[in-house]
Symmetry: C2
Subunit: 384 residues, 2 copies
């Protein structure tokens, strides 16, 4: 397999973008990434998007975006894996360059969640429609079950969950693209509206419009560019797990995350101890804790305590979700996995400004779909 | 890039399958393909499906199918490109093996169209929602515009369109998996219900439930198997074109089909004259004629006359759609592109029974989305 590099990144602001449509969003992020890469060539492109059909009545969005980007006749492929659609878009682009079929590939993700269908119903399509959604359980409801199991098994407290949101809002306050650029307190989380016990409104990522894009290239192309320090993708891994929550042996254990993480560490020849900065899929506060445990950042049941120490806050030993995470940056479903790569590339280039992790050289992104039935893990390595 | 071989195929019957759900269909086809390949190993899998969200309220179907197939934790990715979803599933699997990332990959396609949403609305999501569907034009309406332009420009007649349907039903009558296993006459086509002038009911592919699957493998794995003659994928190409019909310079010209065809012939080192059997995307009769012309099977405007000669009927020089095509075999949207590969592999193995093309060694499959905004072309080569 050939080496693959990230040569450009772009993203829209994340938020309620009532003036921009699905296609506007993707094209805006893609053009920003193309501009950042300063390459004219694109051999192929991917679009990660969960449910444009249910949100805005539009499928076939690979070709749509190629057209609106002015890039026909290049191959344009949409991939979908619920909230992991973005991570998979990056991975398919990675595989295409690794194969030798292409030299420069665009991987973008997008979701237009406002101004369309009923969001809760549309998102339920990421869960098991026949055995979960049909029984009336919502996505927050499923993660509430995970949270309750974690509290029961490990003694994790309501306050500890809140600390994840507080940390991510602190980071988001430093990110000019974030949906919520303000800090919150533990009391605010604890007193926010109950969504699905024990999860409250400020435990949940918001409904967001947005897009993010990266340009990947072969070593040959990347080596000729002078604009940015090289960022190499040293691992791109993916795994699956039981689709419905009721089939899990342990509700608190994210098997696909563990598996994808193990594969990624093997591919990169690294361990979690080598990593300097991490983006995790914190669709709900409990999800960040479970992902930390599945990746070995903390022992099972110990993630909440680690968050309390401040080690995962900016300035700590291993900052997690410096972008603000899905919680504060926003969670336009299909874009989130790509936006993680945008954030980490920015960190590895050393251009993250107020949220820069000093000396960051190795970064890890974990993006998952549904209640963890699909997961991608990418490891990125910056210049020494 | 590494060589890639087809080592197994499977498909469900195509039709109105009221007793089988989306997941049942995919798993049935996948198990048949795994059984046919006689390999236990699967490194990864793809699911081509257009609009399971709108049809049955279910997204995230890569992971869903991995689970129901009993194959977690392998990577499982859904790709979507409207009616070209199946061809793209095969191409992504091809790229993954070509890259060296995997040795054995399942590529399946599925669609459950009955027992769900309003089909015409759901299919409209393959066209431009904002500029086509919103104005009230349906998919048959768009292809009717193409047909009318072809008749106007080249003098193609109503009867000539009907001959495509008659030919494909003749072939479908020989295919035990086809939705319509009976012949039809020109008069029956001409007197069938008007759908969108000039297209009548028997010009249109039907609403179909079904799934198809193939197992792809590296040379190393394929070389150890003794079950079937090797079938090699010598080209896998993809292209895009303007999304909405109104942006085409020429309504009768399928630019993405021409482009993908050219790329495929270059990759395979072949010309159209080398090909022995072809599966084309005949979602409407006019689509088969336009695809023939885009691929160089006939000069522009001459495809209808070629069909009249019988050269594209079984027993002719270049049989097209020996499976019955989308018209008679049925068109479960996401499955159709994979089912083409299943048919051609069967032909190249010499096991197509009554519809066998004698001495077939080289085969071509063309699968497209929407009104041709996306297209894949695969060239397969059997043993000498």
């Amino acid at each position: 397999m050939r080496d693959v590099f990230i040569i450009g990144t772009g993203m829209t602001p994340f938020g309620e973008l009532w003036d921009r449509s699905l296609r506007d969003l993707y094209v805006e992020a893609a053009l920003a990434a193309i501009d950042d890469a300063a390459v004219d060539r694109l051999d192929s492109m991917y679009v990660g998007c969960m449910t444009s059909g249910l949100f805005v009545g539009q499928e076939h969005i690979g070709a749509l975006m190629a057209d609106y980007l002015g890039r026909t006749p290049i191959p344009a492929t949409r991939v979908e894996s619920a909230c992991a659609s973005g991570g998979i878009a990056v991975r398919q682009a990675y595989l295409e360059i690794a194969s030798g079929a292409s030299e420069v590939v665009l991987a973008g993700g997008v979701e237009k969640m406002n101004d369309g269908a009923d969001v809760t119903s549309a998102l339920a399509a990421a869960s098991d429609q026949e055995y979960e959604a049909y029984q009336g359980i919502t996505f927050p409801g499923l993660y509430a079950l995970i949270a309750r199991a974690h509290m029961h098994r490990y003694g994790t407290t309501r306050e500890q969950l809140a600390r994840v949101a507080v940390k991510n809002h602190r980071h988001g306050a430093l990110n000019p693209k974030a949906q919520f650029q303000f800090e919150i307190t533990i009391d605010q989380v604890l007193n926010s509206t109950q969504v699905a016990d024990p999860l409250r409104l400020l435990d949940c990522s918001p409904v967001t419009d947005g897009a993010a894009a990266v340009i990947l290239a072969s070593a040959e192309v990347a080596g000729k560019l002078k604009g940015h320090p090289a960022v190499k993708i040293t691992a791109s891994a993916q795994a699956s797990d039981t689709f419905a929550l009721h089939n899990r042996q342990d509700l608190t254990h994210l098997g696909a995350v563990q598996r994808a993480g193990e594969l990624a560490f093997i591919q990169a020849g690294r361990t979690i101890d080598d990593i300097d900065v991490v983006e995790l899929h914190d669709c709900f506060t409990i999800a960040e804790l479970c992902a930390m445990e599945a990746l070995g950042i903390a022992e099972p049941g110990k993630a909440a305590a680690l968050v309390e120490t401040g080690e995962t806050t900016l300035g700590g030993r291993l900052p997690i979700n410096t972008s603000g995470g899905l919680k504060a940056k926003g969670h336009p479903v299909g874009a989130s996995g790509v936006a993680q790569i945008v954030e980490l590339t920015t960190q590895l280039r050393g251009t993250a400004g107020k949220r820069q992790v000093e000396g960051a050289r190795l970064a890890l992104a974990q993006n998952m779909g549904g209640t963890g039935a699909s997961c991608t893990v990418h490891i990125l390595e910056g210049a020494a």
